[in-house]
Symmetry: C2
Amino acid sequence: MLTAMSPSIGRPSLRDRTREEVFALIRDSRDLTRSSLVDLTGLPSSTVSHAVTRLLAEGRVTESTAPAKGPGSGSGRPGLILNAVASATRTGAIDFGHRHLRVGLGDDMGNVVDEETVVLNVDRSPVKGLDEAVRLLRALCDRNQVTSLACVVGGVPGPIEAGTGLVNSTTTLSNWAGMYPARELEDRLGVPALVANDASVGAVGELYHGAGRGHRDFLYIKASHGIGAGLVVNGQPYQGGSGFAGEIGHIIIAGRPELCRCGNRGCLEAVVSVPSVREQLGHTHPHLDPDSIELASLEDPISARILNEAGRSLGAVLAGLCDLFNPTLLVIGGELGTSGKSLIDGVRASVNRYAQPATSAAITVVPAGLGRRAELMGAVQMAGALSHQ
Amino acid sequence: MLTAMSPSIGRPSLRDRTREEVFALIRDSRDLTRSSLVDLTGLPSSTVSHAVTRLLAEGRVTESTAPAKGPGSGSGRPGLILNAVASATRTGAIDFGHRHLRVGLGDDMGNVVDEETVVLNVDRSPVKGLDEAVRLLRALCDRNQVTSLACVVGGVPGPIEAGTGLVNSTTTLSNWAGMYPARELEDRLGVPALVANDASVGAVGELYHGAGRGHRDFLYIKASHGIGAGLVVNGQPYQGGSGFAGEIGHIIIAGRPELCRCGNRGCLEAVVSVPSVREQLGHTHPHLDPDSIELASLEDPISARILNEAGRSLGAVLAGLCDLFNPTLLVIGGELGTSGKSLIDGVRASVNRYAQPATSAAITVVPAGLGRRAELMGAVQMAGALSHQ
DNA sequence: GGGGGTTTTTTCGCGCAATGAAGGAATGAA
DNA sequence: TTCATTCCTTCATTGCGCGAAAAAACCCCC
């Protein structure tokens, strides 16, 4: 089982390390010319030229005939832009939600090729969720004439122990506890599988395709039935020393009376979460369907205030975490994060109020750019990265 | 000005990249043999042999004749241990404390060659501190027949803005605010200088020479007149998105009445810091000299209780931060951290109580292994790393 | 003490990647 | 057109990386 997104394990051979390094740069960056590769790598131009020539001959890279109009400096021969060719390799991606299941097919560049979503209470029976996910993935493969997958990446709501892939059972009460979901997927599909915490996977999605683009250090907060954080550190997802980074749902807010399912009082996710917010909203919306209604549809002042207040509570906790971590961005996702402006404003207000001035000045607070698809897109991205290792 | 510990900028040429990679491994690890290098790099044994032969010929590496008795597997030809030769290169290191100044001379392996400490109220006049540090450094050079330094690294108590090296003035009230200490050192000494936050520098010291050895992810807490944290992430010091990571002194503990110098109530460092603890101790130790006495000398039950309680307050805040970051170690340094068992026990108790079970189970809480020398040794280590870039 | 097994390290020649220098190619400006 | 600038390729040379096989240094056992 694969347990991390470690860089370049499969060194084909040192002899063409340069070519692979050049290719990886072309793949991961955008609008690169040969000369910008020279700048990036520090290699002599002849070496870069040689490597690119060979990559072109192998069909792994194409040249766009339109010349680059980049800020080269003005005059002079314009460089030709190089693009990596997405291979025929396909990967699988799975987002195990609480009440839904998203499955996708991706290419090695991290693009979603096809996807499918079903409503399913995964929480109740993770095994059923795994079976259904595998079934959907097989259907997607058939539909796209894909005969084999390079790997599969999944996100589950629970803390995944580093190294073993075990869903830790002392911290979560969910039915995932005690399972080895990556191994389960490998057994069912026969390909390498990697399963990570859903917030961590969502953070990757936002990093590559959403609000996190251009940021190297940020927090993705998945505020849904529970609250979890995904960390991006130095441009890479960070899982912590033992895989449990981002488990912030049970940080205690002193003085709050709310009883948490974990037994303590004042846990962040007892104060701010879909169930607790729904309960508060229930007083003004007595006919609120607890399972189907979208929080985002609530635009009356009282609801806005409740959401804003929830955001403030969340932001007060995040402020302290920002003092430690100093991110440049907070991405608020999950059902609450995508519920609208009120909650985001509340988070921003609290962060500005409680975090260090210099720290909060560096922070932007935004809702998830990908909405509910952050996790799936992150899984596709991780699978793409995994496929060329 | 150098602004980060980035890896291997100065690639001499790609042709001997392998040799440099091998050398870097020998330099940074310990007790390596050729065969362990083969395992680490994935290179063919012939290539490693070739590279090592040349390094030996160049005098950059020596072979210890005593064979390695490592856990190779038992029988078989024992490998010869390779050691990097410390070059004649010398670096400077400075620890700017509140009331003391430590200056050291280091080699490129990060070892302290010579050092000097003076008592000086650096806080009152950073410029005087800089002048005195430079004077001491020059004296150390003379004493050791060193004619030139490769670089200088310093640690100052204040948040250093990434990129510019400016001591941020919106966050700290110290006299360092608004200064560019790295530039000041460069102007005075004429060599590349890097200045970082003192807690961050201390973390590096503990990482390489102290309690942090063998850990990849930990927090070094400098609990002294203020409270700051140094983060080690993936085995590297981490300064945050804009350089302010670890500024945890003003995280607010809800419900605490203590007035902080920043104007808020209940800041961590208003509750737990040398001044606040001294004030509490003053009731039982009315003749406590506020400037000279060592907290560690207080062993009576009441003092122990006060320190334990301070540790508990500190630990309650750290618990939340650990939930986010999931370190495997908390190193408590600074004057309070080295005051004895009581405070450490308090931190440990709170972390175990308030952090997630799986998170706290992964954490060890220890006092600084290097005591007050953590910052100087970290600066020497960073300077050594900087010198071969 | 000699043989077999194990692990580490070196030897050897081949092939090819990396290199610097020089020149060609594509553009804008004068 | 000519020049300056920037980008890219060509070319011969150098020496590194490679695999296979042998040598070296240890252990254990009989």
